[in-house]
C-alpha cells in the first residue's frame, strides 16, 4: 500500500515553510490553505477476497464520482466530470462479464438503476482511433452522496481507526476516482478536496504507519509556467519515516488539463420554464470572457443524460437550427437514443453527447448582450404512472471546456497528476489540451450542479375510472354500430327520412 498526499496552496503569499513541521516520522500542517489530493494505491492481494474477485473480472475499471456542490478547481486539478457516478470499463476478452451491478449496488447504494451491466451500459464511441486508452463501455447514475461507499470501506476494508477516519473524509471530497486495471493488478483510490474541512484550512497530522505503508506528502504552489504548454510547481516533499525535514522541490510538466487564464469565465445551467415534455436546457456564459484562449481552441459541452431525458440527433443536422441555439454541431452521441420508448423499457443508463458550441463573434463581444446563451432542446420519456401528478428527476449539469491543439500530446501521461477516463477525451485526438470553464452554483433550489425537473405522469389517484370507462365505452360503441348495421334502425331511419322529405 502506498499513499501520496498533495496539497496545492492556493495563495502562495499566504504560505511559509514554517507551517510544516516534521516530528519523528509524522508531518503536521498548520493552517495550510490548500486543495488536497489523496491517492492511495493498494495491491489487489491486500483487499478482502470478495473485492479482489470482483475486480479481477475486469480488464480495466474506472469509477469517477463528482459531488453536485460547486468547488473551485486548483491547477493541476482542473479536470471535471458531471456530478454523479460514472463507470468506465472494459471486460476481459473471451470471458463472461462479472456481475458489476451487484458490486455497484453493495458499494455505492442499492438505488442505482442497474439490473444487468450488459444491458445497462453503453458502448463508448471512439472518434479518434489512435487514442487507444479508452475503455469500451460506460455507465452513469445520479448519486448524491458517497455514504454507502464510506460505510462499505469502514466495515469491509478497514482494519485501523486511521483508515476509518480517512474513509470518513471521503464524504467531503469534491470528486473521487477509483481505478483498476489488470496489468498493474492494483487499485488506486484518488480523492480530491477543494478546500480544507473547516474554514478552508488544513490542520492535520499525517503519521507514518509501517514500512509496508509508504506515505509521501507534497505541499506545492503553482508557479507561473516557463513553457506555454507546461505547468510548473515549487514546494516541499516529505517521505514519512525517511525525511527529517521537508525537501524543497521544483518541477514542470506537460498537462492534459490546462488552467484557464481568464479566472472570470464561468457558466450556469438552467431550464426554461415550464419544462413540459420538451425541456430546453440553457447554458449562460458572461460573453466578455468567452474568447478562445488560443486560435486552435473550440468550445465544447459534454452531456451525461440519464435515460429519462434524451436528445434527438436528427434535429441537429440543420445549420440554421444549430445557429438559432448557438450550437456549432453535435460531435458525438452514444447510448439510449431511441426516440419513442418510455423510460421503463429503456434498460440502458442513458446517453452521452458532445456538442461544439458557438461563441460570440469578436466584433460582437464588445457591444453585445452581457450574457451568451446556448440552448439544447431535449425531450423527456414517459415515466411510470404514480400516485402523484409529477415525478421529479435530476438532470446533471454538463461539463464545458475549450479543446485546443497541443504539441506534445504523448508526454501528457508523464504528468504525475494526469487524470484520464472522463468520458470525453476519447472523442478527441491524443494531442488535445482541455481548458475547463468552471460552473458557478445555481441549480433550482439545490444550490448545486444538478437541475431537478418535474415530469408529468399519469396520476393513479385519479385513474380508477379509466379502465372501466374505456372498455365500457368501446363495448357500447361497438354494440351501437352493430345495431346501426343490423338493427331496427332501418324503420326509424325511414321514418326520419320521410320527415326530412316533408320538411323539404
Amino acid at each position: 500500500m502506498k499513499q501520496r498526499i498533495t496539497y496545492i496552496v492556493q495563495d502562495p503569499d499566504s504560505f511559509s515553510p514554517e507551517q510544516l513541521v516534521v516530528k519523528g516520522s509524522s508531518l503536521t500542517l498548520n493552517r495550510v490553505q490548500a486543495a488536497k489530493e489523496q491517492r492511495i494505491t493498494v495491491g489487489l492481494d491486500e483487499l478482502p477476497s470478495e473485492l479482489k474477485k470482483a475486480f479481477e473480472q475486469w480488464h480495466e475499471l474506472h469509477i469517477r464520482w463528482a459531488s453536485s456542490s460547486p468547488y473551485p478547481a486548483t491547477p493541476p486539478f482542473t479536470s471535471r466530470v458531471t456530478p454523479g457516478l460514472h463507470v468506465f470499463f472494459t471486460p476481459h476478452k473471451d470471458q463472461p462479464e462479472g456481475d458489476l451491478c451487484r458490486l455497484l449496488h453493495s458499494v455505492f447504494g442499492s438505488e442505482l438503476k442497474c439490473a444487468s451491466m450488459s444491458e445497462a451500459s453503453t458502448k463508448m464511441p471512439i472518434l479518434s482511433e489512435r487514442f487507444s486508452m479508452s475503455t469500451t463501455s460506460q455507465y452513469y447514475s445520479h448519486l448524491e452522496s458517497l455514504s454507502t461507499l464510506v460505510g462499505f470501506i469502514q466495515h469491509k476494508v478497514c482494519k485501523s481507526k486511521a483508515c476509518r477516519q480517512a474513509a470518513e473524509a471521503l464524504l467531503s471530497a469534491a470528486y473521487v476516482d477509483i481505478d483498476y486495471d489488470a496489468i498493474s493488478h492494483a487499485l488506486v483510490l484518488n480523492a480530491f478536496g477543494a478546500t480544507g474541512p473547516t474554514t478552508g484550512y488544513w490542520d492535520e497530522t499525517i503519521s507514518f504507519e509501517s514500512e509496508a505503508h509508504s506515505t509521501e506528502v507534497g505541499v506545492l504552489t503553482h508557479e507561473k509556467n516557463p513553457d506555454p504548454e507546461d505547468i510548473g510547481f515549487g514546494g516541499f516533499l516529505t517521505v514519512l519515516g525517511q525525511d527529517q525535514a521537508p525537501k524543497p522541490t521544483r518541477f514542470q510538466t506537460p498537462t492534459r488539463h490546462y488552467p484557464l487564464s481568464s479566472a472570470a469565465a464561468n457558466y450556469k445551467t438552467s431550464f426554461a420554464h415550464p419544462t413540459g415534455l420538451h425541456p430546453t436546457l440553457s447554458l449562460a456564459f458572461p460573453s466578455s470572457h468567452l474568447t478562445p484562449p488560443d486560435s486552435t481552441c473550440k468550445l465544447h459541452a459534454y452531456f451525461t443524460l440519464p435515460s429519462y431525458v434524451f436528445l434527438d440527433k436528427y434535429q441537429f443536422n440543420d445549420a440554421l437550427y444549430l445557429a438559432s441555439h448557438n450550437l456549432k454541431r453535435l460531435r458525438s452521441i452514444a447510448g439510449a437514443t431511441d426516440l419513442e420508448a418510455p423510460d421503463w423499457v429503456t434498460s440502458q443508463w442513458g446517453s452521452a453527447a458532445l456538442f461544439e458550441l458557438a461563441i460570440p463573434k469578436s466584433s460582437e463581444t464588445q457591444n453585445a448582450q452581457p450574457e451568451w446563451n446556448v440552448t439544447i432542446p431535449l425531450h423527456l420519456r414517459y415515466l411510470p404512472a404514480a400516485d402523484n401528478s409529477h415525478t421529479a428527476v435530476p438532470v446533471p449539469w454538463p461539463v464545458v471546456f475549450w479543446a485546443c491543439r497541443a504539441e506534445q500530446g504523448t508526454k501528457m501521461s508523464v504528468n504525475p497528476f494526469d487524470r484520464l477516463h472522463l468520458g470525453y477525451e476519447a472523442l478527441f485526438g491524443p494531442k488535445t489540451r482541455f481548458m475547463h470553464i468552471p460552473p458557478i452554483g445555481g441549480g433550482n433550489g439545490t444550490g448545486g450542479l444538478v437541475e431537478w425537473i418535474n415530469v408529468p405522469v399519469l396520476d393513479l389517484r385519479k385513474s380508477q375510472w379509466v379502465e372501466l370507462g374505456t372498455i365500457g365505452t368501446v363495448i357500447v360503441a361497438f354494440l351501437g354500430l352493430c345495431w346501426a348495421i343490423f338493427g331496427g334502425g332501418k324503420g326509424k331511419a325511414k321514418k326520419e327520412s320521410a320527415k326530412q322529405k316533408k320538411k323539404q
Binding site: 445557429a323 420508448a341 418510455p342 404512472a385 408529468p456 396520476d459 385519479k462 385513474s463 374505456t470 354500430l481
Partner: protein, 422 residues
C-alpha cells in the same frame, strides 16, 4: 356565384388551381426551410430521405432510426440523394400523386357515380383544393402517396380490372398494412350480378361465390403481396419484417394520441409499484383488435359492400382508425380520401343542419383534445386524467356517432340513389 360555378365547370381550371396550390406550398416550403430554423418539411421526410441515402450507399434503409416503411419508399425517393433541388423530388412526387388521386376521384364520381361534371369537380375538390391535403404532401409526408394507391384501387375495382385490382391491393397492404380491410369488401362486391335463388343448395351457392373475378383478385393480390415481401426479405432480411410489420403489431409507444385506449395502455404497461394492487380487468385492452377488426374487416364489408362499395370503404377506414390503439391526425387522411364518394347523396349534405353540426363536433373533439395535449406537452401539466382521457373518449364517441349516420345512409341506399349503379 356565377364565377364560382364557372370555376367548377371546367376540370382544367380546378386542376390548375390544385397544381398552383401545391406549387405555392412547395416554394413557400423551400423559402421557410432556407431562412427559418423551424422547418416546413415534415420530420418524416428527413427519415425517408436519410433512408434513401443509406440505400444509395448500398446499405439497408433500416439503418435509419424510425424508418418503419417498405424499402420501396426509400427506392422511390432515390433521386433525393442527388444534389441541390433534387432533395425536393419526393415532395413533388407526393404532390403529383395527390393530384392524380384527385383526378381519379373526379373520374370515379363522374363515371361510376354519374355525377354531373360540375358536381363531380366540386366533390373532388374536397381533396384537390384541400389545403390540409396539399400541406401534408408538400411537407413530404407519404400519406399523400397512399391516397393515389388506394384511389387507384377503388377505380380499378369499379371498372372491374381484376388483375390490376389484385396488384394494387397487394401493393397497398405491403405499403401500409391497413388496406387489408378492403379485401373483404372488394371480394364481396365482385359478384356476377345475378341473384342466387334461395332454393339453391349450400354447395351450389358456395360454387357461385367462387367466381373467376374473386379468384383473380385473391390470387393476384396474394402473389403481389407475398412477392414484394419475399423480394424485400431477400434484399434486407429480418430488419424489413421487424420494422415494416412487427413493429406496428407490438409497438409500445404510449405517447399521448387520439386513441381511446391510450391512457389505459400507458396505465397498464407502466411498471407497478411492488406490493400495490391495482384492480385490473386482466389486460382487456389486449383484445382491442377484436371490435376493430370485426367491424372494419368483416361486418361492415359483408353487410354494406354490395350496396355501395366506396362509401363502405369510407366506413371501414373510419372504424379502423377510430378503434385503433394508436391514432394520430395524419390517420384522418385515410378516411378523408373516401369522403367525396359518400357525401353527394348523404344526409350530411341533404340536411346541412346535421352535416354542419357533425363537422363542428368532429372539430371540437379534436380541439378539446389538442388543448389538453398542449397543456401536457408544453406547460408540463399532468393532464393524462381526466383531461386527455376524457377528450379521447369524447372524440371517440363523436366519431362513432358520425359512423352511425354514415352506416345508416349506406343501408338506406342513399348512395345508390345518387347515380347509376353497376
Amino acid at each position: 356565384m356565377a364565377a364560382f360555378s364557372s370555376f367548377f365547370s371546367s376540370s382544367r381550371t380546378v386542376l390548375s388551381a390544385a397544381i398552383a396550390l401545391r406549387a405555392t406550398f412547395l416554394l413557400y416550403g423551400l423559402f421557410q426551410d432556407a431562412y427559418s430554423p423551424i422547418k416546413y418539411t415534415d420530420i418524416d421526410y428527413f427519415v425517408f430521405t436519410d433512408a434513401a441515402r443509406f440505400i444509395a450507399r448500398g446499405q439497408s434503409p433500416y439503418a435509419r432510426d424510425t424508418y418503419r416503411y417498405t424499402p420501396l419508399l426509400a427506392w422511390l425517393l432515390y433521386p433525393t440523394t442527388w444534389s441541390g433541388l433534387w432533395f425536393s423530388f419526393g415532395k413533388v412526387l407526393f404532390a403529383v400523386g395527390d393530384i392524380i388521386a384527385g383526378w381519379m376521384m373526379f373520374r370515379i364520381l363522374r363515371v361510376h357515380q354519374g355525377l354531373s361534371q360540375e358536381r363531380a369537380l366540386k366533390y373532388a375538390s374536397i381533396w384537390l383544393l384541400n389545403p390540409m391535403v396539399a400541406t401534408i404532401s408538400t411537407r413530404g409526408s407519404s400519406e399523400g402517396l397512399l391516397g393515389v394507391f388506394v384511389t387507384a384501387l377503388l377505380w380499378a375495382v369499379l371498372s372491374r380490372r381484376i388483375l390490376l385490382t389484385g396488384f394494387l391491393l397487394g401493393f397497398a397492404v405491403h405499403f401500409k398494412i391497413y388496406p387489408f380491410i378492403y379485401a373483404a369488401s372488394i371480394v364481396w362486391w365482385l359478384d356476377d350480378g345475378s341473384k342466387s335463388s334461395p332454393s339453391a343448395s349450400p354447395v351450389a351457392r358456395a360454387m357461385k361465390f367462387i367466381n373467376p373475378q374473386r379468384i383473380g383478385v385473391a390470387v393476384s393480390s396474394f402473389l403481389t403481396f407475398m412477392g414484394l415481401n419475399v423480394i424485400m426479405y431477400i434484399a434486407y432480411g429480418w430488419p424489413f419484417l421487424e420494422h415494416s410489420y412487427f413493429y406496428h403489431l407490438v409497438r409500445i409507444d404510449h405517447r399521448h394520441n387520439f386513441s381511446p385506449y391510450n391512457t389505459l395502455l400507458y396505465m397498464n404497461s407502466s411498471p407497478k409499484v411492488p406490493g400495490e394492487n391495482h384492480a385490473s380487468f386482466s389486460e382487456l385492452e389486449r383484445m382491442a383488435f377484436i371490435p376493430q377488426i370485426l367491424l372494419s374487416a368483416i361486418i361492415i364489408p359483408l353487410m354494406l359492400a354490395k350496396k355501395d362499395l366506396s362509401s363502405t370503404m369510407l366506413a371501414q377506414t373510419w372504424v379502423f382508425v377510430t378503434f385503433n390503439k394508436v391514432c394520430t391526425s395524419q390517420y384522418f387522411l385515410w378516411y378523408i380520401m373516401f369522403l367525396p364518394y359518400y357525401l353527394p347523396g348523404s344526409i350530411l349534405m341533404r340536411s346541412p343542419r346535421v352535416g354542419v353540426s357533425l363537422l363542428v363536433l368532429w372539430i371540437v373533439g379534436q380541439a378539446g383534445w389538442l388543448q389538453q395535449g398542449f397543456q401536457l406537452e408544453f406547460n408540463g401539466e399532468s393532464t393524462f386524467v381526466p383531461g386527455l382521457w376524457a377528450w379521447s373518449i369524447i372524440f371517440f364517441i363523436i366519431n362513432c356517432s358520425i359512423l352511425g349516420v354514415v352506416i345508416r345512409d349506406i343501408r338506406e341506399g342513399k348512395a345508390a340513389s345518387r347515380g347509376v349503379k353497376k
